[in-house]
Each structure stands twice: as structure tokens, then as C-alpha cells.
Symmetry: C2
Subunit: 401 residues, 2 copies
């Protein structure tokens, strides 16, 4: 959540972007409008409006179509303005450990497409950004028009705690923000990619029907995110959603990468589960082995997953009693183990949940797959870009229109 404004943008530039967003938002809300109707809705002066519209048409964000002349009686033809469905308005990029995922939405906030590409873990930021740019170019039908782009949302691995530190050159994510601003010349909003996956599942995925969502990702690490009232919840110091570091075994727990002991991550990450299988005499060497063993009903694999599911369910119940989500979404590579894990999670969750709440929370599998982080980065732009949020696509009440 940083770098909200491109560097060196002047107050006048911001004002102009605001006017552009207002016009785009009115076209999203009302559908096709004439310039006169846009003037009435926006309150912008005729000169300003014509200027803004000309710019948006030139950039490909808006298309002007002459009205049917048969419907008109005299004077020069009136044009109807519509959003260009081929124009990208927001891009999301997830820089995962060994892959780049991208997605884009058009000016009507429809997802145009997504793409992913793996790479070596040590690929420099400059090459990752170039890869992301190439992938973005493959989205949509024909070349994506970026003239209407309002911002880029970016997911990264690891905690995103201090926006100011991120903004500075050589911050926790190196030159990434600067590289992106240079390539795309728009504001960059950055957050942890697991948290962004939570926002994506709550916006387009398994919990799109709920505003209070708890997302847990069981993968090579264990992380998550909280969506509260439809918005990403970061907490007072940017670390909310660290479910993987809730202590589940204070007495005999293993040392965790975070510096703590007995964290959920030390029992429920893919590595921890494989280690537990080996300790119990299992043969699975990696996740595909494990998933095959589960599918073949291997008793060791099933026993380990049941035990892990119990720990996960207890943590989810504790957090639910505190936070009260309507939907819990379970994602990440380990969730692909399916029912043997999920049933154990659900049993422990239900046992520990406040009885009054038992009928009120649903536990679901994540639905967006590996591109969730990139989609969440777009959702971040649509939720939090100061200009976009000032003119919401879907007004809360029609009174405001």
C-alpha cells in the first residue's frame, strides 16, 4: 500500500486524472452517454469535458460512435461515448518466488485475462519486470491498449510493513517500485501476495458473496489474509493475517523461520507435512507424491493430514471467534489434498467454534488458483486507488447518482 502517486505528478495532473476517472466512472455506471449528458452528470464545464473526452478517445479508453442520423432532425451528428471494452484499466502482477503471474481488467472492471510464466528463483528484478510486461502484452484480444491504465497493483513475497521504506530506492523489494513506474508510468500499489489472494477470493472467487472473509493458504509457507467489510485488513502495523505464525505447540514445537517456536507453519506447511509423513514411515518425497498417496488412500498420508487438519481447524476457530468471518477460504498447494484434509479441518473447526456461530460460518476451497495474487493486486487498485475510490463503479446508493 504505497507509491500511490507516480513521482513528480503535479497537483494539476492529479486533478486531471480525477476528472478522467469521473468521466470513466460515469460511463461505467450509466452506460453510453452523450457529451451533453456527461456534462450534466459530471458538473464539469463544457471546455474541460470536451478536452478530457478527446484525450480519453485518443488514448483508446473511450470510443465515440455517431448516433443513428435517422433519429436526429437537424444540426451536426451527436456522438455517444462508451467505454472501450479492449482498453485495460488496471493491471495486477504477482511476483511469486519462481513465477510471474499477471492479469488485467478493462475499463468496465471485467477481467480481460491472465497469464503465468515460471522462472529461476534468482532472476533479477529487471528481468522479472520485463517478463511481466511481455505477459501483460499477451492479455486480451489483440494488443492490450494501456492508454486507460489507472494504476498497477503488485504482489510480492514476504511482509509489506512499511510503505515509506518500500518507496525509497533499495527498500525491502529493491528497485521494483521504481522499475514498474518507469515501465508503465502510473501509480504502483504493492502488498503481500497472499494477502492479495485473500482479497481476490473475496472479490471474484470462493467468497465473492461475503464481505468478511478469512483466507488461509497452506503451501510452502503458511499465510493468509483478512477481508473486513469488503476491504483488506492490514492491522495497525501491516502484519494482520499472519495465521501461519500463531503458536500451536508452545511446549515441543519446532523452530520457525519467523524466529518463533511451534508456529502453525511448522506443522502445516508442505515441507512440514512431508517431514511428518517420512517420520511416520511414509515414502512421499514431494507434494505430487503426497497427493498421489492421498488419492491412493495411503494410511500414513491420511493419518498425517488428519492430524494437520486438526491443528489448522483449531487455529481457524480461534481466529473466527475473535473476528467473525462469514466465509473461510482454504487455498494453497496443500489444499489440493481435498476431502481428507478439509474434513479434518472442518471437524476441529466446528468443535472449537462458539456454538452460537456454528451455522453461520462456511468453510470453502479457494477457487482462483495460482493467479489469485495477480487478481488481488487488481482488486487492490480498484478498492484503494484514491482516484478510483472517489468515484466508485458501483455506488452504494442510487441517491448519490
Amino acid at each position: 500500500m504505497l507509491c500511490r502517486m507516480p513521482p513528480h505528478e503535479s497537483p494539476l495532473g492529479r486533478l486531471r486524472r480525477g476528472h478522467e476517472e469521473l468521466v470513466l466512472s460515469l460511463l461505467r455506471r450509466h452506460g453510453p452517454l452523450s457529451r451533453a449528458e456527461l456534462g450534466g452528470h459530471s458538473g464539469l464545464s463544457r471546455t474541460t469535458l470536451y478536452d478530457i473526452v478527446a484525450e480519453l478517445v485518443e488514448r483508446g479508453a473511450v470510443v465515440a460512435t455517431p448516433c443513428d442520423p435517422a433519429l436526429r432532425r437537424r444540426g451536426r451528428p451527436v456522438e455517444t461515448l462508451t467505454l472501450n471494452p479492449e482498453a485495460g484499466q488496471a493491471i495486477g502482477i504477482d511476483f511469486a518466488r519462481r513465477a510471474v503471474h499477471v492479469a488485467a481488467v478493462n475499463v468496465a472492471h471485467e477481467v480481460i485475462g491472465s497469464a503465468s510464466r515460471g522462472h529461476a528463483a534468482d532472476l533479477p528484478w529487471e528481468d522479472r519486470v520485463a517478463l511481466a510486461e511481455r505477459l501483460v502484452g499477451t492479455l486480451g484480444e489483440g494488443p492490450l491498449r494501456l492508454g486507460a491504465l489507472s494504476a498497477i497493483g503488485v504482489g510480492v513475497v514476504g511482509p509489506v510493513v512499511d510503505p515509506d521504506a518500500e518507496r525509497a530506492p533499495g527498500g525491502p523489494h529493491g528497485d521494483l517500485p521504481a522499475l514498474l513506474r518507469k515501465r508503465f508510468a502510473v501509480p504502483v500499489l504493492l502488498d503481500n501476495n497472499t494477502r492479495l489472494a485473500a482479497l481476490a477470493e473475496a472479490t471474484w472467487g470462493a467468497a465473492a458473496d461475503d464481505e468478511d472473509v478469512l483466507y488461509l493458504r497452506l503451501s510452502h509457507g503458511v499465510g493468509g489474509g483478512l477481508v473486513v467489510g469488503g476491504s483488506l485488513h492490514r492491522g495497525a502495523y501491516g502484519l494482520a493475517g499472519e495465521f501461519g505464525h500463531i503458536t500451536v505447540d508452545a511446549a515441543d514445537g519446532a523452530r520457525c523461520s519467523c524466529g518463533g517456536t511451534g508456529c502453525l507453519e511448522t506443522v502445516a506447511s508442505v515441507g512440514a507435512v512431508l517431514a511428518a509423513c517420512r517420520a511416520a514411515g511414509g515414502t512421499a518425497q514431494n507434494l505430487p507424491d503426497l497427493l498421489r498417496a492421498v488419492a491412493a488412500k495411503d494410511p500414513v498420508a491420511l493419518r498425517v493430514l488428519e492430524s494437520v487438519g486438526g491443528r489448522v481447524g483449531a487455529v481457524l476457530a480461534a481466529v473466527s471467534n475473535a473476528v467473525g468471518p462469514g466465509v473461510i477460504v482454504l487455498g494453497g498447494a496443500l489444499a489440493e489434498a481435498g476431502a481428507p484434509l478439509l474434513d479434518a479441518v472442518r471437524a476441529a473447526f466446528t468443535a472449537d467454534l462458539l456454538p452460537l456461530a456454528r451455522e453461520k460460518v462456511e468453510l470453502r476451497r479457494a477457487s482462483l488458483g495460482e493467479v489469485a495474487g495477480a487478481l488481488g493486486a487488481i482488486a487492490l487498485v480498484l478498492h484503494e486507488s484514491p482516484l478510483l475510490s472517489r468515484y466508485p463503479a458501483r455506488p452504494e446508493s442510487e441517491e448519490s447518482s
Copy 2:
């Protein structure tokens, strides 16, 4: 969070209340203003404004003072309008198990005063409401003028889950909402009194400097509340903040009043602590005994508190890793045990908290005492009354004024 509007209020009545709130809010924000200045700021027509002001003056919410005639050259004297510091604008009432607590703020949002009175546990609602009304009458200097009253916030014992059920006659809290509306003729906002204490501590109390606050009350029950971004967080089904029912001992835990097993309440309530002391050979029969034993450094009492503090700290760390509060406030009768309990809580909390977060969360004693629920009920009105919130007392940015 219900009964937002008094029954039978017409759309015109609501509009009028909106205009009144706008005028009061402008006087709060700008200080004394003339009618002409109020007209300029409010955008209300001269006729409407004069009408609204006359009504507010008549009700005692606003005072009109003639300007110094020496400063004027001709024409009839201009009056300056100011808020009446003796007029109550919002009242909070906490209907606790065996006591009624009340508090009031004036139209400038300053707390005028508070009062408490104990009663038998089986006192009927009608008598409790009458008692509350008498207590409200004792607040302020001289009789409190209720002409500017905009709403009443009310705290009750037990979960407040379903506003619609509450609104109906014979709902979970009986005729209480109807009785209050009849007495005071203004909207009634109702919530759980522990959750309201959380909001009070985050507004006027130990965490008034933070927007993300976790409040835990250790008393005859164990409960709490979460304040997220300055607002009370209820969760998807109205049960957020039930820290007392997070499981801490799934294997050997005692049965809890909620229907679960091994909840924090079964080890950290006053009754559970006294039982643990007795089991360890202690002699404390009640809370004052226990507090005396702690003060006298009785080893049994200290050992029990240390163990209980450890459980509490672990739960607080788990919730903090999930939610990321900036301040944790510990309240309730048991917190009066002071350092022996708090030090144990802090040690366990720090051990289980994500190391990255350790410098970022503060653990503090509650500061508002038994009147916290009533103060929180006022904060609820100031935060959530739809008319008040539309015209905030303290604008977020001066640009909007």
C-alpha cells in the same frame, strides 16, 4: 446496532433531523457563527435555516447572543449562535447484570458526567429504565437539557446478534428498546456492553491514541471487543470479539457456559481463578480475598495468576498475529490483580507474538472503570448514528470544510 430510527419518523422528519444535525455540526466545527455565516456554510435556504435555528434555540441546544452593538453601525442587531454547553446531545446507558451506569456528552461531544447505581439482579426492565432516567437527570450542572438529544446508546449483557430480532417486541432484550424510545423519543442503538467498553477505551480511554484496538475483559465472564480502523468490528454475524470462547484446553478442558469445552473463560474468569486457588490449597473465597492474597504475595495466588496469565497471553498473541492491533487493553475485575497477572500475560504474549511485531503492540490496563460500557454506548451513537456521521464533528481533512 438497531432501532436506528424512532418508529413512525417520516421522511420529512428525517430530513429535518438531518438539517438540524448539519447546523449543530457546523457550530461544533467552526465555533460561534451568525445566521448568514451558517447559511453560507450549510447551503440551506434562508427560510429553512431560520426555522431550524429557531427550533434549536427553543429546545436549548443552541444559544443566540446579540453581537456587541458598539461593533455594529446600523440595522437590527446581528445574533451569534453557539452550542449550549449545558445541552446533552447523546446519552449512554449500560444495563449491567446488577447495576445501571449512565453517561452523557454535550453538543460539543464533551463528557458531561457519569453515574452508577446497583440493583437486584431480577429488577424488571421497566424499573431499570426508570432508574436510568433518574440517573441521567443527575448528570451535568443543574437539570440536563435533553432538547438536543440525538440518540441513546445502550449496552446490554449477552450477545447482540440480530438487530431485527431485537427490534421486535419480546426480542432477546424484551421491551427494553420500546421502553427507551417511549421515555426519550429518540433513536436507540444497542450493543453488547463489553464490546462497547472496547469502543470506549479506544475513544476516551487507555487506547485513545490508536485506531486498531483489542480489548479483553477478565471478569465474572471473559469477553472483549475489536476496534478496527476506529470502528467497532462486529464480524459477519455479530459475534466478533468472543475471545473468552477461544479454546485453550481442548483435551482436558472444563465445560463452558457457551456449550463448548476448554474455553479461555473456563480458566480465566474470576470464578475459575478462585476455583483454581482453592484446588491449590488457597483460602480466597471471593475476588476481594484474592486481591488481598495477591497484595500479600500469597504464593498460591501468585502461582495461579501466573498460570492464568500465560493462557491469556497465548490467546492474545494468537489473535494479534491474525488481526494486528496497535494496543491491547486488559480490563475487568481480575485485571485489578495488577502486575502479577499482567507480567505473566505480557511474557506469554511476547513469546508467542510474531517476532517482527514485538515492538509494535502495546499491552495496557483499561482506564475507564465500570462506566466504560455507558461511555462506549455514547461512542456508538457518535460513530454510528447515520445523521451524526454524515456531518462529522472533526472533519478528516480541512479541505472538506
